[in-house]
């Protein structure tokens, strides 16, 4: 337990980390790096919100792009059709995500097995087709072009940072409470969880709603930042839904820091591979996925944490004084 260190040391680290994050775009004025940092934060948000549901509650979703796209379209349409300001629109985007999550969870969480995963996939494809064909409302394949809101990347960066921080804090808060224990129990064994008085359907629904809320907010953010959306982009299975799983799994499912590491790896490596391997970069990417899964099945954080500091471990750490005596 050498790595446990003193409390003060850890607080120092935290302050340093916050300072680095807040100061990054001021110190690093290169917009290209700022752009990558923004996407890193966006993927932290997406990976973390997927992880709350998939990693902690064990409910794997193959179609989180449904929420992402829902959020993107909600705020963009509110702006394009009604002139509703897009940044508050992000919140409404998140709410739209919850409204979508409610019936989905109600239908799917009664069933066990891969039904939820598959239904989410169907839902995201269904929404893609609806937005594509409901041309009067959504402009269909033409997509929605928004005016860019800021010239500088600073506001974009800080909004992304706030979103990522909010998602992580929400996850941390939930996971560190009774809800977190319940979600893990559901992941580990649903029958046992029920027998122990856990309303599994309800707690799964809670996790889904929180996850959908942040995923949809991230979708709204993407729309505001990129200033253009169309159905194949925001409802993409490979580029959104699968990529969210990748971030969580590469980093370590069911760990708070896993999605952070996963997002960092994905954003930097895919950018580096794109530059170095040219046409072969997606092969290298595929090989990387295979290698990590075969050799680090618990993800990067999960595998390192088995040997590392206790607070990184992929489960609820009970850090109370008694715990380290055993």
């Amino acid at each position: 337990m050498a790595a446990r260190g003193g409390k003060g040391w850890r607080w120092g680290g935290a302050v340093l980390g916050v300072a680095v994050l807040l100061g990054f775009p001021i110190v690093v004025s290169d917009v290209y790096l700022q752009h990558l940092a923004i996407f890193f934060l966006l993927w932290v948000t997406l990976g973390t919100s997927w992880n709350l549901l998939g990693g902690y509650a064990g409910q794997i979703s193959f179609g989180h792009a449904a929420f992402f796209g829902m959020g993107a379209y909600t705020s963009s349409l509110l702006f394009a059709k009604l002139g509703f300001p897009p940044w508050p629109g992000m919140l409404l985007g998140g709410v739209a995500g919850i409204l979508l999550a409610l019936p989905m969870g109600h239908i799917c969480f009664r069933l066990r097995g891969p039904f939820f995963a598959l239904s989410m996939l169907a839902l995201s494809e269904f929404l893609r087709l609806v937005t594509l064909n409901w041309r009067d409302l959504t402009e269909g394949a033409v997509g929605i072009l928004l005016p860019p809101f800021f010239i500088s990347k600073l506001p974009y960066y800080y909004i992304a940072l706030a979103l990522a921080a909010a998602t992580m804090l929400a996850t941390w808060f939930l996971v560190d409470s009774k809800v977190g224990f319940y979600l893990l129990a559901i992941r580990e064994d649903q029958d046992a969880a029920e027998a122990l008085g856990i309303d599994t359907t309800w707690y799964k629904l809670v996790a889904l709603m929180v996850s959908a809320f942040f995923s949809a907010m991230a979708g709204s953010y993407y729309a505001n930042y990129m200033a253009y959306i169309d159905p194949p982009i925001v409802f993409s299975i490979v580029d959104i839904s699968i990529a969210m799983i990748l971030v969580a799994v590469l980093g370590g499912m069911g760990t708070l820091w896993g999605p952070v590491v996963g997002a960092l790896v994905i954003v930097t490596l895919s950018e580096a591979f794109r530059a170095y391997f040219a046409a072969a970069h997606l092969i290298v990417y595929g090989v990387l996925i295979i290698v990590v899964i075969v050799f680090m099945p618990e993800g990067i954080v999960g595998s390192l944490a088995a040997r590392g500091p206790r607070w990184l471990r992929p489960r609820v750490a009970t850090d109370a004084p008694g715990a380290s005596q055993g």
């Binding site: 064909n133 595929g286 996925i289």
Partner: protein, 301 residues
């Protein structure tokens, strides 16, 4: 009056032709779905590289036709063993270690995503992104029945798909290996106790699942075209087919394929072509809600 009658006749022709089109395409969907179904039945994972395996099958078929003139209808003799070996290699060297390590099912699924990425992009490097088609002597031939016309390749593809499905069914029902596969699908622990080498069965099953895509690839080439990125579309179709058929049921997958084909073609005619695929998904979700065990109930394999 005559006008009305003619219109009525036309409507009937359209209906018949639509149903026929749906069934013919559905047969292919079914065959593609069967590969995924048999894998799901035994391994309990969804192979998201199933469409990419189909793509590989199509390229193999394309090259043996282009280089040696082997007719696509005969090419399954090459594509089936080729894909079988590819499937066995993927399972033996990538999935088996995961299963031994008792990895989470989602890791196994993601692994197949990685495999799919590698296959697609390897094909892109090797064959470029060009679209390719095969033209045979019978490519443009038609069979006409009264006012209904169907393309000969589509009928041939359907016929062979049925043949391969029946062969698979006989294999599962009548041979010892087939029985072992069914036993493993029903209860791996019990199968293990009964002396079945479950690991070996898994590898073989994955090979068979891949081989089915080889066969499907040979047939799809007859009516479609090929390019490296086509896997994703068909992985998705296979997915729906497998759920419609009841997860893991091969006969169900065949039926599911035909239901999907019909839903798509009838939907295109009577609702809107744009919503054609959406109808497939609605059927899919309705199935999940009302008959989660699939069309044919609980029967496995």
């Amino acid at each position: 009056m005559a006008e009305g009658q003619r219109k009525g006749h036309m409507d009937l022709t359209i209906l018949l032709q639509t149903v026929l089109a749906g069934v013919l395409v559905g047969g292919l969907y079914g065959l593609i779905g069967m590969g995924m179904a048999i894998n799901f039945g035994v391994l309990r994972i969804i192979n998201l590289a199933q469409g990419e395996l189909l793509m590989v099958g199509m390229y193999v078929c394309y090259w043996v036709f282009t280089l040696w003139g082997l007719d696509p209808l005969l090419s399954p003799v090459v594509t089936i063993p080729f894909l079988f070996v590819l499937g066995v290699v993927i399972h033996r060297f990538l999935l088996t270690p995961l299963i031994r390590a008792r990895a989470l099912p989602e890791n196994q699924i993601l692994l197949t995503v990685g495999v799919g990425l590698v296959l697609t992009n390897a094909a892109l490097l090797a064959f470029t992104s060009n679209y390719r088609t095969i033209t045979t002597s019978y490519s443009a031939s038609l069979i006409t029945l009264g006012s209904i016309a169907v393309s000969l390749p589509a009928v041939l593809a359907f016929g062979i798909a049925m043949l391969v499905s029946s062969a698979l069914w006989l294999f599962l029902m009548k041979t010892d290996l087939g029985k072992c596969i069914r036993a493993t699908a029903q209860d791996p622990d019990a199968a293990l106790l009964m002396g079945v080498n479950v690991e070996r069965i898994s590898v073989i099953t994955f090979g068979i699942g891949a081989a089915l895509e080889g066969a499907a690839g040979s047939l799809l080439v007859l009516v479609y075209y090929l390019f490296p990125a086509l896997g994703g579309i068909f992985t998705l179709k296979a997915f729906i087919v497998v759920v419609l058929g009841g997860l893991g049921s091969t006969l169900g997958a065949l039926l599911g394929g035909i239901v999907l084909g019909l839903a798509e073609s009838l939907g295109a005619v009577f609702v809107s072509t744009g919503y054609k695929d959406a109808i497939g998904f609605i059927v899919f979700v309705l199935m999940l809600i009302f008959r989660p065990a699939g069309l044919v109930g609980k029967a496995r394999m």
